[in-house]
């Protein structure tokens, strides 16, 4: 554990760390609605308010439904308030309209997502299909692998989202139950560390706020064909700044306060011929499988993506181009497409290379289904024979009873 004068130790689970990060980042507004496994994030946040840890000017409100919650957060952000909120699964589905509008309205709201599989059929366990709902909406999406990273990424992303070159909403996604309800020891900022962090983060200054009588503006307008595409282009261009701004934030935070994870993290990738790629808390299982396969003599490495949107194309090319073949695991189903969404992103990023490594798309762990080191080891074995699968027309599903 680090012995650092800016840090102290705190014991809590993913939901608690997310709420604590919101408190440390000095949020000013939150309207939430509860949904398993996100409920405890809402409870902890409201508890901080009740105990006076969140100062009295911070408004925390319970909504009538996620749609109301996100609409209110949208308004609060347009009034220049720093906002955190959270939901998952059906809550995201219910408030698709409100959440997508956050991007076009350039509201840097931080959305905590204790990831849960979407219906139908109903399920409460971990699956990333809710984080993927907004994969093409202009929101930043990062995946945290454990409660510590939930805290770290939330603190970083307030800075990145509010940067004037970015101004986009962020989804911090982490496994429902596996991370959200797992209590573990973490390091958080103490009084000294908070002073430095808050000085760097600064106040949220919205360029055009609804509540500035000296500078009245109208927001949320209609954009007809002569205007819409260009406004959207500006939104897309802001997305292009996200990765460089995030790297600046990571650099400052790591050098000044404590080490935080990178946008893409690797394990034994330096001499790896084959790579297994995943996002989120599956990385622990991937590492175990890599060690097992290396004992057999297979030079495999594991890669974990923290940033999913915007997709780090250049970093992908740098890190993955030397592999002979790559297996990509994701916990979201792929329907009617050749590869899963994450696997497609990787495959298309590498598509310009003269020798493009074949990419095996694997769909695993849906609805919280157990997926083990043996499953991954099996796939690593198949990676050594790309001719067997590189012409597959659909992804491989792992752990299905009687199917593959």
């Amino acid at each position: 554990m680090e012995k650092n004068i800016l840090l102290r130790r705190e014991f809590g689970d993913g939901n608690y760390m997310a709420a604590l990060a919101g408190v440390h980042a000095e949020i000013q507004y939150s309207m939430d609605f509860q949904i398993t496994p996100d409920t405890q994030f809402v409870e902890h946040l409201f508890d901080f308010k009740r105990r006076g840890i969140l100062p009295s000017y911070v408004r925390t409100q319970l909504a009538n439904g996620e749609n109301d919650a996100f609409t209110a957060c949208h308004m609060a952000s347009q009034c220049g308030r720093r906002v955190i909120t959270g939901s998952c699964s059906q809550g995201f589905g219910f408030s698709y309209e409100s959440i997508k509008s956050l991007a076009g309205s350039r509201c840097p709201v931080v959305i905590i997502n204790a990831s849960r599989t979407t219906s139908a059929p109903v399920n409460i366990h971990y699956g990333t299909d809710d984080a993927y709902i907004f994969e093409n909406c202009g929101l930043i999406t990062v995946f945290a692998r454990n409660p510590q990273e939930v805290y770290d990424w939330t603190l970083l992303m307030f800075k990145v989202a509010e940067d004037l070159r970015v101004q986009l909403p962020v989804i911090i996604s982490y496994a429902g139950f596996d991370v959200s309800h797992t209590v573990t020891g973490n390091t958080v900022l103490n009084e000294e560390g908070l002073k430095i962090y808050r000085k760097w983060l600064g106040k949220y200054v919205r360029p055009n706020s609804l509540l500035n009588p000296g500078h009245p503006v109208s927001l949320g307008g209609l954009a007809l064909p002569p205007f819409h595409m260009d406004i959207n282009y500006a939104l897309m261009k802001a997305g292009e700044n996200v990765i460089s701004v995030t790297k600046e934030a990571i650099k400052y935070f790591s050098e000044t306060i404590k080490k935080v994870p990178d946008i893409i993290n690797g394990y034994k990738t330096e001499d790896a011929k084959y790579l297994v790629v995943s996002m989120g808390s599956d990385f622990g299982t991937m590492k175990e499988a890599v060690d097992v396969a290396r004992e057999r003599g297979v030079k495999v490495g594991a890669v974990s993506y923290a940033m999913f949107r915007p997709f780090p194309v250049e970093d992908t090319i740098k890190m993955l181009k030397r592999a002979k073949s790559i297996a990509v695991f994701e916990r979201c189903p792929a329907y009617g497409r050749r590869m899963g969404i994450f696997a497609s992103d990787i495959s298309t990023s590498l598509s310009g290379l003269r020798r493009k490594p074949p990419v095996m798309s694997c769909i695993s762990g849906l609805g919280g289904r157990m997926f083990t080191v043996e499953h991954i080891d099996n796939i690593i074995d198949r990676l050594t024979r790309p001719d067997e699968w590189k012409n597959n027309l659909r992804p491989t599903w792992i752990g299905v009873n009687g199917g593959a």
Binding site: M1, R9, F11, D13, A120, P121, R145, N146, A175, F177, D178, V179, H181, T182, V183, T184, G185, S281, D282, F283, G284, T285, K287, E288, M370, F371, T372, V400, N401, G402, G403
Partner: protein, 331 residues
């Protein structure tokens, strides 16, 4: 037992992660139990995680808690399937030996002797610790709040010599939900911890012939065997699923209780068959025959006591399920 028997001593010399599972029922506090243990490990500069796998969201429904303890940062967050220690808060739960191996250690909440319970539950030739956590909680805590988790923790720390009784006392007194409830609650839990620690008994079953319960995994359902949209096409499913063992309070028909006095004419029957209990019971567990209330279906009644609360004539009372079972056994 006053001396510590060392089991997982020197975790810092072990490269692997120690994984434990807690079997408990809702309202027994298994999540708080495994979390406090993880927190104690955290104070000792080990890495530890604690999480649960919940059953139905009701007191009495069986659920699981997990611990991972290691000297290196823990990166595995999936549900484990191989356990080095098993904490059993309720011996009526199924599949207690799942995921165990020859060196697994059991800590069981029972008033029976360790060898006896090892044979009864078919734990195999393993080391078994027992403590009467329910009994301890019953003596120290008021009715309705008798959580066996802290007494169990007093026994569990025998497995980890580095977790001293003092450390556990500190952890329990700093556990947030206890702090919110006040000094009296903390004091009760600390007494429970101390009583659990002192009252632990040990049995080394290795080399004995105690049979081990084989876990038969359920046959997996093939993907093509499901109806489209996973529609459930047969009827009577709730009837087949027996939820009666979730009950922690049993509703008792008062008229059955005072049946002799009614016959003798000294008391009038309270129930007038108004059928309110039948209408309000969420589990269809009030049995009606020939237009009269016949009884309560104990195989399905989950003990929510809505019938007791809704009856205008006080014809349904309640009794703690453990006591009711004991009284049934006596009859």
């Amino acid at each position: 037992m006053t001396e510590k028997i060392t089991y997982f001593d020197k975790i810092k010399d072990i490269d692997k992660t120690i994984v434990g599972i807690w079997h408990g029922r809702g309202n027994q506090g298994y999540i708080a139990g495994c979390s406090i243990l993880a927190r104690a490990m955290f104070q000792l500069e080990y890495f530890a995680t604690a999480f649960g796998f919940f059953g139905a969201e009701k007191g009495g429904a069986p659920g699981l808690g997990f611990n991972r303890i290691a000297r290196l940062p823990i990166e595995a967050f999936h549900t484990p399937n191989r356990f080095d220690f098993v904490v059993i808060l309720d011996t009526t739960i199924d599949n207690l030996t799942r995921g165990t191996h020859k060196d697994t250690i059991y800590v069981v909440n029972t008033s029976k002797k360790p060898e006896e319970i090892a044979r009864e539950l078919k734990l195999g030739s393993a080391r078994v610790l027992t403590v009467d956590a329910t009994g301890i909680a019953g003596k120290i805590m008021p009715a309705g709040f008798q959580y066996p988790n802290t007494a169990m923790l007093g026994a569990v720390i025998h497995l980890f010599p580095e977790v001293t009784l003092d450390l556990l006392r500190t952890e329990v007194s700093e556990w947030e939900p206890f702090v919110e409830k006040g000094e009296k609650v903390i004091a009760m839990n600390i007494s429970a911890v101390e009583a659990g620690f002192a009252g632990t008994q040990e049995f080394d079953g290795r080399g004995t012939d105690i049979p081990k319960a084989e876990i038969v995994p359920p046959k997996p359902v093939m993907w093509y065997e499901y109806e489209p949209a996973a529609a459930i096409i047969n009827t009577g499913n709730s009837h087949v699923t027996k939820t009666g063992d979730w009950r922690t309070e049993r509703p008792i028909r008062v008229d059955e209780f005072i049946a002799e006095k009614i016959k003798a004419g000294t008391k009038k029957p309270r129930c007038i068959d108004c059928m309110l209990c039948f209408q309000f019971c969420p589990d269809f567990s009030i049995v009606v025959k020939d237009g009269k209330i016949y009884g309560i279906d104990l195989e399905h009644c989950k003990g929510c006591l809505i019938c007791h609360n809704v009856c205008p004539y006080g014809a349904i009372g309640q009794k703690p399920e453990a006591k009711a079972k004991k009284d049934d056994a006596k009859k």
